[in-house]
């Protein structure tokens, strides 16, 4: 895969390039900030751009850079790497796009397998959300949602968590060692119990519905 990197911390930037190369990816651009990356990528093609959130242009240059890249190259995947996994940034990221996009903690992509899996899912059009953040959203939904989420069975909660990570039905099925049909059934039950519109036709709409539900302050949203 052709990958571009923008990160202002030199040590992390160098480590990332080494790991990407060890994973067999081609690093086509490496910059210390968003503006130079946008400039380079206007002529150099890339499949996925890896962006630090907190980098120049300050304060959250990764987000501004992502907006510009998405506008100029709609097919380019975007992966945000950050020291913090926060729902505030997750929502801002989902405003930029709900496909070919990811948000992960910096230290959680520190293996060839995880990094390559994350990049492949993004290139396939999926949303990839840091599992820790997805878990937190499911375990501690806002306010009144608590009572509804607590009506889910353990297995349904596992499925909800994987949905919040942005996993497809097939991805959920292979993670839980069950059939895709069984996952579909769980998903239908979850949507029913939470009172969500069962519009599961488009994968990214489903992820967005689940995340918005878990994040919003009122139960009627």
């Amino acid at each position: 895969m052709r990958v571009a990197v923008a990160e202002d911390g030199a040590l992390f930037r160098q480590g990332l390039v080494l790991l990407l190369e060890a994973a067999g990816h081609e690093v086509v651009a490496v910059e210390a900030g968003g503006d130079p990356l946008v400039a380079v990528l206007s002529t150099v093609p890339a499949d996925v751009a890896l962006l630090d959130i907190r980098m120049p242009p300050e304060p959250d240059g990764g987000l501004v850079t992502a907006e510009r890249l998405r506008a100029a190259h709609p097919d380019m995947g975007l992966l945000f790497l950050s020291h913090y996994a926060e729902s505030h940034y997750l929502m801002r990221i989902l405003e930029i796009g709900t496909d070919r996009i990811g948000y992960r903690l910096k230290e959680k992509v520190g293996s060839v397998e995880v990094l390559s899996d994350t990049l492949a899912r993004i290139a396939d059009g999926e949303i990839v959300i840091e599992p820790e953040l997805a878990k937190r959203l499911v375990e501690r939904p806002r306010g009144d949602k608590k009572d509804l989420v607590s009506t889910l069975s353990q297995r349904e909660r596992d499925v909800l968590e994987l949905m919040a990570e942005g996993r497809s039905n097939n991805g959920i099925a292979s993670t839980l060692y069950v059939s895709a049909k069984a996952v579909e059934k769980h998903v239908a039950n979850i949507f029913d119990k939470l009172g969500l519109q069962p519009d599961t036709s488009a994968h990214h709409r489903r992820v967005l519905a689940v995340l918005t539900y878990l994040r919003s302050q009122r139960s009627d949203v």
Partner: protein, 197 residues
């Protein structure tokens, strides 16, 4: 108006110093440890598949190191958050309090204006609200943030009136003030004013 005079100025400086400390943790040790986790990943990928005796033991050892690094980073994040939450600096009081509610699972609703009020007022109001949310446990609390003149006003409805002292501890060093009112059902509405820098 006196914004706390010399005391107030010193209190302002304390908050700015806390904010700088969080930055240093982020740009220094946190980044170093994150970079180290990538280097471990490179080492792990370089272990030959079968050729080497004990390749699996090497892999397991490196995985354990990676887990320890992740745990150290998580602890650093918690320390940094107790000094000055990064989101408070980057996005302001509303987003920082909503994130806190999401992270702790508190039954709180946050209504906040987007106006920025400086490191000291925002920091003091954040930690005052955080202490009250923690004390409230599973009881519902309404948190309001608005700006009146050159003061940031924090309203905490549904809290224990005994938390007045806790809120005072944050507001008074800056030259702020605290009032307690409420429905008289055992809960109170605490209104605190923090001078903006």
């Amino acid at each position: 108006m006196t914004l706390g005079g010399e005391h107030g100025r010193r209190a302002q400086e304390v908050w700015r110093r806390r904010r700088r400390l969080e930055r240093r943790l982020h740009d220094g040790p946190a980044l170093r440890l994150s970079a180290l986790s990538l280097r471990l990943g490179v080492l792990r990928a370089e272990i030959p598949d079968q050729a080497l005796d004990g390749a699996d033991a090497w892999r397991r050892g490196l995985d354990e190191c990676a887990d320890e690094l992740a745990a150290a980073l998580q602890e650093l994040r918690e320390v940094a958050g107790a000094i000055y939450p990064s989101l408070l600096e980057e996005a302001g009081l509303g987003p920082a309090l909503r994130e806190l509610v999401a992270a702790t699972g508190a039954r709180a609703r946050v209504e906040a204006v987007d106006t920025r009020c400086g490191a000291a007022a925002e920091g003091a109001a954040y930690f005052a609200a955080a202490a009250c949310l923690e004390a409230a446990g599973d009881d519902p609390v309404d948190v309001g943030v608005r700006v009146e003149g050159d003061h940031l006003v924090l309203v905490l409805a549904g809290v224990d009136p005994g938390l007045r002292a806790t809120v005072c501890d944050e507001a008074e060093p800056l030259g702020g003030s605290v009032e307690v009112g409420g429905p008289g059902d055992g809960t109170a509405t605490i209104t605190a004013r923090f001078p903006c820098a």
